[in-house]
Symmetry: C2
Subunit: 569 residues, 2 copies
């Protein structure tokens, strides 16, 4: 990034905002910080002494435990919100994961919910009292929505995003907003205002992006349920890198209206909102309840497509019995690192043990799909960023490396300055449609090889060719982007963690591409130690119900295998 | 259009194709043509003597009569196909509505269906034996698909469009392809190859476009069910001008994959395929059976959204009782001609007589919506047309006027040569989303004024500010385009016909706009005599089921009123 002069006004705006943010943190929730050399901070919320035993019990609970206790009143919304708020503030001190903090507003909302339950004996909705964290771009009336752009500081939302209106109807308690990269179009999390979010499992590694604040926060159990957005992997990369569950729904299943965003008006490969949580059930609770709220009556782009209990019962997938999964071992361009291969092997073993069939997935033109997707974004992205940053002159960030020597020596996710014409964009989008048609035919024809009579029920794919890499090193979102262009519903499931004992570096293989060699060179088991290993479960377009059910089957199978291996529950 | 030199090669290609087309017409099906001064040709299929009494009975039958007789075998697929084919060829001789004619192929298909029914006792599918006409852009393997572009002559489809595969699965008999304007982006029907399609009710008037061949063909009962496409009114304008029923479904409900098209890759305001027929039941039979065939397994853009019997039963509309309709009398830019106002008044009277409430619809920013939609198309349209026509140098048609003096003195639907950048297109598309959001909120807030507790159940809108105008005079698709940008499901229903006795010209009013004055000046009851009067029933995005049911309610109400008025069934 170009070194900006200290006298430029944007730095002053940043400083002022950082002070305002600090002032929103209750001083009594400040903890004694560990040494910066302490890389794994996941146990600190439990050991720092800020949370009571009851608050620890609450924050250790997943959505499936929280919701019935909140509904019965055995845990009040105020105490649940307070517990998660405290833990979120701890998480923020450890990983820098929050942007907007508004304790009083959230607690007032929680108190009103408690009052409602007490007075009427009824919950407001299926998410009654559940604290929900939101990626910074999701608007809450009265709360600033800078999205990491200095030029957007001072923009207080004049109304809620549609999703926030829906969440309020459902009884949820929006309670924090979370960190993002400038522009959102980067798979790490760093911006001029709020700085960098680190990975709680190993703070020398990235939390991923663009929903990196959510990933770090939920991994530290500072929120039971968060909402991110995903245009190339932005829900799934942080979920995978931080070891939590994340769902990328298909275009327009979850209402996006009223959010701030990059590249607005880009109507071809759409960003989608999706949940991040500590369990598959958490993802389902969000998805089902939001859809059942009929968001199409509030957002014209939200698809009028009801939640289908039949599809969740897998009526199109043999009711979940004797399924056939196919594993994408590599995309023929980049061989994943040893821990990622181990994650796929574990999943395969678990699924076979659970009575399913597992075959290999044959990739189809992944390289062209990546290039086509990048071309759609690049069509107008540079101009979009230039226009957005121009009011303050803040630099467009061109590297996420913390090493100042790297500045200017590398480029990755930033498109070139020159956009293309609308007609040229149409040609790219036409090719995109053809690739989607080819991939559908490719999937359908697997019916001949599965042995079930059906095409493959779901693909098991790496979430990236690596576990969370060091800050500044995440430059390849290929394994997530592919499913964005194809608009396949995709869930991330954590499988294990990098262990230098198991996950040794292998001798060099014959490289499939330049990026394969770069990727090979990146791996060092010690550097990646303790980073979560995750996989993607990939279903069809608009198969949210089925992917939630299939993801549960995969998750249960992996857990059962692990229980069997260790003899413990 | 620029007068092309006779020596240019494209004219030779046209001549050769016209001869090939003529050769596909069985000579025994040629009729004695009426004088060109015979304007209303709707009775000629019945009087020309080519059809037997049984063939007349068959071709007078709507889809709801044909399907059970075909399924029971009381009418064979071969005799039904033969009857409609003969009548289609008559229609073609009267209005020039066909492009591709393939009698042997269609009859072979019909014979195979008969054999199947005879052998197995079962129908192939719900459309067993039904002849279906297809707009020229819908590909049938082995059939030429020029779409009116000289440069595309000789392009024989190497595979079926997805819709054709689906129709074959359903048991239908694709049997003719129908005429279109060059580029498809014009609301009349004329191209260099196949010439002009006229309106069978008054051949001095246009059939509308771009699915004008379908409109004329179905009005003459030369096909029981046709498929057109609609990006700005191209199903609805010919349906309205020709006095038949047409449905514009929402984006991607009906599979579009594998068709040829203009402006491919324009992903923002999508063209959709929709049915045209002589009854609401015909539209429903098509829509329901195509959706029930799960087209999303063949076309990745087709939405995975099942046919909903509950939504067809109007569970979101008080089960069809005591509905509230709102009439759009004018868009605040163009006051419709007297017969169109009469059509709206008749509909209002009929709905009130049927026990429903009728209020006025308040238009919201229609002018800006029209401009925004045109800007999306114009972004790359001129370059698209230039690239497509360049191989042969055929001129891009810039007027549909049959008067050569008009050439070069007017411009309407053709965008300017200069396209815009992808970034500029994104800004237009962003504004489009905002307008959709505003319109949804505008519709939702009618809940306060309907008296039903619900928002307006459907809008009743003109299909155009006029009935079918003289050739070359249809330059304003505003009343249909609006629903394309908003992506509202919309059905056209015929109400009456222009009668110079009733539909007198009114004194000039205070004009709302320049186009209002131009429209006022256009009206002359004698010129428009006998042109059908139609309305649109407008529902929400992806409300195909509900609009089919609401359209039936409107149609039944209008028919009941007419029965009451005339004392006849």
């Amino acid at each position: 990034m170009a070194a900006p002069g200290n006298s430029a006004p944007w730095q002053a705006l940043v400083k002022e905002k950082q002070e305002r943010q600090k002032a929103t943190i209750p001083p009594k929730w400040l903890i004694e910080l560990p040494d910066t050399r302490t890389l794994d901070v996941t146990s600190i919320p439990e050991t720092c002494g800020l949370l009571s035993a009851r608050e620890l019990e609450i924050t250790r609970s997943n959505v499936e435990v929280l919701l019935p206790r909140l509904a019965s009143g055995s845990w009040s919304a105020v105490e649940v919100t307070t517990a998660f708020y405290k833990r979120a503030i701890i998480a923020h001190q450890l990983t820098n994961c929050l942007t907007e903090i508004f304790v009083d507003k959230a607690l007032a909302r929680a108190a009103a919910l408690d009052e409602h339950l007490k007075t009427t004996g009824k919950v407001v909705g299926p998410l009654h009292g559940l604290p929900v964290s939101l990626k910074d771009q999701i608007n809450i009336e009265g709360i600033e929505a800078s999205m990491g752009y200095v030029s957007w500081l001072g923009k207080y939302a004049t109304k809620n995003s549609v999703l926030v209106d829906v969440l309020l109807e459902l009884g949820a308690v929006p309670f924090v907003k979370t960190n993002i990269p400038q522009t959102l179009m980067w798979p790490e999390t760093f911006n001029h205002i709020f700085g960098r979010t680190s990975n709680p499992h190993n703070r020398s590694l990235t939390s991923g992006g663009s929903s990196g604040g959510e990933g770090a926060l939920i991994a530290l159990r500072g929120s039971p349920l968060g909402v991110g957005s995903d245009i190339g992997g932005s829900v799934r990369i942080p979920s995978a890198f931080c070891g939590v569950y994340g769902l990328r729904p298909s275009y327009n299943r979850i209402p996006y209206g009223g959010c701030v965003n990059s590249m607005e008006g880009q109507d071809s490969v759409l960003s989608v909102l999706g949940p991040i949580s500590n369990s598959v059930v958490g993802l389902k609770a969000f998805t089902q309840s939001v859809i059942e709220a009929q968001p199409w009556l509030k957002d014209p782009l939200a698809l009028r497509k009801r939640w289908s209990p039949e599809e969740y019962d897998l009526i199109e997938h043999n009711n979940g019995k004797n399924l056939c999964f196919a594993i994408l071992w590599n995309d023929r361009l980049t061989v994943p690192h040893p821990p990622i291969i181990r994650g796929l092997e574990t999943t395969k073993k678990a699924l076979i043990a659970a009575g399913h069939t597992v075959i290999d997935w044959v990739p189809h033109k992944h390289g062209e799909i990546y290039e086509t997707l990048r071309a759609v974004w690049a069509a107008g992205a540079a101009e979009d960023y230039a226009v957005t940053t121009s009011p303050t002159g803040e630099p467009v960030i061109s590297t996420m490396s913390p090493d100042p020597d790297v500045a200017g020596t590398e480029a990755s996710f930033r498109p070139g300055k020159a956009g293309i014409s609308a007609y040229q964009l149409w040609q790219t989008q036409k090719r995109k449609r053809e690739l989607r048609e080819e991939y559908l035919a490719h999937w359908q024809q697997t019916a001949g090889t599965t042995g079930t009579g059906r095409p493959v029920d779901a693909i098991i794919s790496p979430a990236a060719a690596y576990a969370a890499p060091p800050h500044g090193k995440n430059k390849n979102a290929d394994y997530t982007m592919i499913w964005n262009l194809l608009d396949y519903t995709t869930m991330v499931i954590p499988i294990s963690k990098v262990d230098p004992t198991f996950d040794v570096k292998k001798p060099a293989h014959e490289f499939l591409s330049d990026r394969d060699q770069i990727n090979y060179d990146l791996y060092d088991p010690v550097v990646f130690a303790n980073a979560p290993i995750s996989i993607q479960v990939v279903g069809r377009t608009l198969e949210e119900e089925a992917v939630l059910a299939l993801g549960k089957i995969v998750d249960d199978a992996v857990k059962a295998l692990s229980t069997k291996a260790t003899g413990k529950m």
